[in-house]
Amino acid sequence: MALGSAACVLGAALVVGGKGGLVGGSLAIVVLAAGAIFGIPAFITTAGALLAGTYLIALVLQQAPLDLSAPLVGTLVLLAMELGHLSLEEGRYSLPGGNWALAMRASITAGVCVVGFGVAWLVLIGAFWVPAPAGTISVLAGVAAVLAVIGLLIVLGRTSDERA
C-alpha cells in the first residue's frame, strides 16, 4: 500500500507540476489508485497512458516549443507505474526474505530509470541538435513506431503462460 501511495504521489506531482491537463491527470491518479487498491495491472498501464497522453495533448494544444522536461516526465511516469506494479507484488515481498529482494528490485529499477532518463535525453538532444530535415525525423519516428508495434505483436504473441 505504501508503494501504491508513492506511485499516486508521483502522479500527483506530475499534475501539480503542470505537466498535463488537470482533468486528465486527476483521472490518471484515480485510475492509478484504483489499480493499486484492487490489484489490476491494466489500470496502472492506463494511468500511465493518461499521464503521458495528457502531457502530449497539452503540448500539441499549446503549440509549445521543444519541451526539455520530456525525459523527466517520461522517467517519472515510468517510476509511478513501476511503484504501482511493485505495490501489486507486495504480497511476494512480504514473505520471509523478501526485504532484500525488494531492495534489490528497487535499486535495479532506479538504475534503469536513470539509464532511461539518459536515453530520453539523448533522443531529445539528437532531435534538437542533429541537423536533419524535419521529414527525416518523422520517418525515423515512423520506423520506430512500426518496429515498436511489431515488437508489441511479438510480445503479445508470446502468451502469458508458456508451457515448456
Binding site: 497522453g53 532518463f117 508470446r158
Partner: protein
C-alpha cells in the same frame, strides 16, 4: 515448467507503441523522449532474462510420527542459471503445519540450494506432501518461471499415546500367559482358595498352617495370569464436528489408547472398523500388531452408506466368542446401536465408550435450538438407558476425562450390574 510474462511487458509495449504513434501524429518528438525510459526498461529486462533449469527433490527424516512431533523435510533445489529471487512454496495437507517459515523468498548463493524445513503434524492421519512450488524471477520481475515439482511423500501421523493406568478386566481369558487374572485355577500369583490335597498336587502348594488346623493336607489354589482377546470396535458410520475436532477424531484417539494399553499388557488386540466400509484386523500381539492397528485406525474415515449391515457380517475369526469387545462410538447411527445390542444379546463381553456428539456441536443459537438440543439430550438419555437395560457397561467421554477414568466407570457399572456371561 511454465513461464509467466509480467503484465508490465504487455502494458509498457502498448504504451510505447501508443506514444510513438501519438508523437508521429502530433509531430512532437517529446513523445519519443517520454517513451524512451519504458523502452529502456523493456530492452534491459528482456536482455537480462534467461530461462532457468529448475529441479527439486525432497525427503523426510522419517515416514511416521506421533501427533505434535516435528519432522524435518530436506529439500534440494536446483536453479541454473542462479536466479536473483527464488520463491519456495510447499502446500501442506490439512493436519500438517509448517514449523519453519514457509513460503519464503530465497536469494540463492549457488545453483543448488539445500533447505531444511520443519513440519509439525497437528493431527493424526495419513498425509501426503504433493508438490513443491518453485518460482524463479528475473531481475526486473518481467518474467517468472514456475515449476510444480511432484514430491509424492507419504507421511503417517499416529495419535499421541495416552497413558492408561488400569484396563477393563475381561470376563474370559485365553490360554496364553498375560497380565489378566483368570477366573480359573492354576499356576499363578493371586490366591484363589484353599482346597483339600489331591494326588498330583505339588508339595510346594501345601498350606502348612491350614493343614495343621484341619488335620489333613490342604493346598493353595491360585488364579493364573492369562492374556485376553480384545476387539476395539470403532464406529465410523457418522461423525459430528469439524475437521479439527470431531467424534471420529476423538474415537480414533481413544481406540488407539485402548489398543496400545492392551498390547502392552500382552493381550491380543484386533480392530473392527464399523462403518460404510467394514474393515477388520484379526487379533494379534506385539509391536508389529501395534503398527498394524494404528495404520488401520488412521485410515478410518466416514463414508456415506444406506446399507444395513448386521454383526453377522464380521468374520468369526475376528470376533471370537470369548473376546472382550470395547466399542468406541458416538452412537449417532441406528445401525451401530443395533449392532452393539445384537452383540450384547449374543452374550459377548461388551463395553461401550460413548463419544457424545453434543460435545462437538456449537452452542445452541436461540431458544428453538436450545429446546431442540434438550430434546436431543433426552433422546440420548433414553438410548443410554436402553443400553444399560441390556446390561452393556457404558462410559461417556468428556474432554477433561482421561481414558482410565472411562474404564473405571465401565468397571463400576460391571460391579453394580450383573453382567451377562458368555454362553
Amino acid at each position: 515448467m511454465s513461464t509467466r510474462v509480467s503484465p508490465r511487458v504487455r502494458g509498457y509495449s502498448v504504451l510505447v507503441a501508443f506514444l510513438l504513434v501519438a508523437g508521429l501524429a502530433g509531430g512532437r518528438i517529446e513523445a519519443l523522449a517520454v517513451a524512451a525510459p519504458m523502452l529502456t526498461l523493456l530492452v534491459v529486462g528482456l536482455a537480462l532474462a534467461r530461462t532457468p533449469r529448475l529441479e527439486a527433490s525432497a525427503s523426510l527424516d522419517r515416514d511416521h510420527v506421533l501427533e505434535g512431533e516435528p519432522m524435518t523435510l530436506h529439500l534440494t533445489v536446483t536453479c541454473e542459471p542462479r536466479p536473483p529471487e527464488l520463491e519456495v512454496r510447499l502446500p501442506l495437507a490439512q493436519g500438517l503445519a509448517a514449523g519453519s517459515e514457509l513460503p519464503r523468498l530465497l536469494r540463492p548463493s549457488a545453483s543448488t540450494e539445500d533447505l531444511e524445513l520443519q513440519i509439525e503434524a497437528a493431527r493424526w492421519g495419513g498425509h501426503r506432501l504433493q508438490a513443491l512450488h518453485l518460482t524463479a524471477h528475473d531481475r526486473l520481475g518481467l518474467y517468472a518461471w514456475r515449476l510444480d515439482a511432484p514430491l509424492g511423500i507419504d507421511l503417517r501421523v499416529y495419535p499421541r499415546p495416552e497413558s492408561v493406568r488400569r484396563l477393563l478386566r475381561p470376563l474370559d481369558t485365553q490360554r496364553a500367559a498375560g497380565a489378566n487374572l483368570s477366573r480359573a485355577r492354576g499356576e499363578g500369583m493371586e490366591l484363589a482358595d484353599i482346597a483339600a490335597y489331591q494326588p498330583g498336587d505339588q508339595v510346594r502348594r501345601v498350606n502348612w498352617r491350614a493343614s495343621a488346623r484341619r488335620g489333613s493336607f490342604m493346598v493353595n489354589r491360585r488364579h493364573p495370569e492369562r492374556s485376553s482377546d480384545v476387539i476395539v470396535f470403532l464406529d465410523s458410520y457418522a461423525s459430528v464436528g469439524t475437521a479439527e475436532r470431531s467424534t471420529l477424531l476423538t474415537s480414533v484417539r481413544v481406540a488407539a489408547a485402548l489398543a496400545r494399553a492392551h498390547l502392552q499388557q500382552r493381550d491380543r488386540v484386533g480392530v473392527i472398523g464399523w462403518g460404510a466400509v467394514l474393515r477388520w484386523l484379526q487379533p494379534g500381539s506385539g509391536t508389529a500388531q501395534a503398527y498394524r492397528i494404528l495404520d488401520a485406525l488412521i485410515d478410518t474415515q466416514v463414508q456415506v452408506s444406506y446399507a444395513w449391515r448386521g454383526i453377522a457380517h464380521v468374520p468369526a475369526r475376528t470376533l471370537r466368542a470369548n473376546a472382550q469387545v470395547i466399542a468406541v462410538s458416538p452412537l449417532a447411527d441406528e445401525r451401530s446401536v443395533d449392532a452393539l445390542l445384537d452383540l450384547a444379546a449374543r452374550g459377548r463381553d461388551l463395553a461401550i465408550v460413548e463419544i457424545p456428539p453434543a460435545e462437538f456441536l456449537p452452542p445452541p443459537a436461540g431458544d428453538v435450538e436450545a429446546i431442540a438440543r434438550r430434546l436431543y439430550e433426552a433422546r440420548r438419555g433414553l438410548l443410554r438407558d436402553r443400553l444399560a437395560a441390556a446390561g452393556i457397561p457404558l462410559a461417556t467421554w468428556a474432554e477433561d476425562r482421561p481414558v482410565t477414568v472411562l474404564l473405571d466407570q465401565l468397571d463400576a457399572f460391571r460391579r453394580s450390574v450383573r453382567t451377562r456371561r458368555p454362553a
